[in-house]
């Protein structure tokens, strides 16, 4: 993977995800950070990415809206989107998967869980 976009309004969460990505061996990818969905969308339009990791509950544009935008864009449609949220449960997960999310993880995420979720993309 060359470029990964991380969208979360919390700098702490972005740093934590960055650390997890480094631990699972993706530290050499270019990790780009956005504070909300709209900024993430701008970054994705600017340059292609291989993965989008997004929070749900964000100001300006939330993660579910970002996911819908990505999946409705002909250029971004195939981009894998992994949602990492503190507001996830089975019903929410189903809703996000039906919107096209690649996976849904609950915070606090661990490197092992992240690795497991990304396995299909890494193989």
């Amino acid at each position: 993977m060359n470029r990964i976009v991380i969208a979360d309004d919390s700098a702490t969460a972005r740093m934590f995800i960055r650390r997890c990505l480094e631990i699972v061996g993706l530290g050499e990818a270019t990790l780009v950070e956005a504070e909300h969905g709209r900024e993430a969308l701008s970054l994705l339009k600017e340059e292609d990415a291989d993965l989008l990791l997004t929070d749900l509950n964000m100001p300006v544009m939330d993660g579910a809206t970002l996911l819908k935008w990505v999946k409705s864009s002909p250029r971004l449609h195939d981009l894998p989107v992994l949602v990492i949220t503190s507001a996830g449960n089975p019903a929410k997960e189903q809703e996000l998967l039906s919107l096209g999310a690649f996976g849904v993880l609950n915070k606090p995420v661990s490197p092992a869980v992240l690795m497991d979720a990304l396995k299909p993309l890494l193989s």
């Binding site: 309004d9 702490t12 969460a13 507001a87 019903a91």
Partner: protein, 153 residues
């Protein structure tokens, strides 16, 4: 108030701090270090649905600096005030999600607000409130849950 509520609150806090900073949360014990109000940072998160309520997390800035140092892998003296503030907000966000996932029956969905700092350091809720005191590394901190619907039974 149900034992389940207390257990779910403690479990959410423990899981959050263990996973993020490898720190063990304990119940308040005699001799725990307390701090004056001006040394405590309080964050609040509104719970919109299905139960209306609020969650407050009040932690000493020194403890938050330690936690942030562990998350950012940086010396404590290099942790900025903004990082400390962001830390307490991310902690309450994560705790709230874990707590509601465990507490609400089945796969009931819920809706949360965005975490915010309480600048006067006071929890002031129109709802019934319950405070729990815990400690990490002997530093005392508190979590307050407000919301009539949480204490009905």
């Amino acid at each position: 108030m149900s034992e389940k509520l207390e257990r779910d609150i403690f479990s959410a806090l423990s899981t959050t701090l263990e996973n993020m900073a490898f720190m063990e949360v304990e119940l308040e014990a005699e001799g725990a270090q307390t701090y004056p109000a001006e040394e405590i940072l309080v964050s609040r998160l509104l719970i919109h649905d299905p139960i209306q309520g609020e969650l407050y997390l009040g932690m000493p800035k020194l403890l938050l600096r330690k936690i942030a140092s562990s998350v950012y892998i940086m010396p404590e003296e290099e942790i900025s005030d903004q990082m400390v503030l962001d830390m307490v907000c991310e902690l309450i966000n994560t705790v709230a999600g874990l707590f509601l996932n465990a507490y609400l029956p089945g796969d009931q969905t819920y809706s949360l607000g965005l975490p915010e700092e309480i600048t006067d350091g006071q929890e002031d809720s129109p709802f019934e409130m319950k405070r729990w005191n815990y400690q990490v590394d002997n530093d005392l901190f508190s979590l307050v849950l407000a919301g009539d619907g949480f204490f009905d039974s």
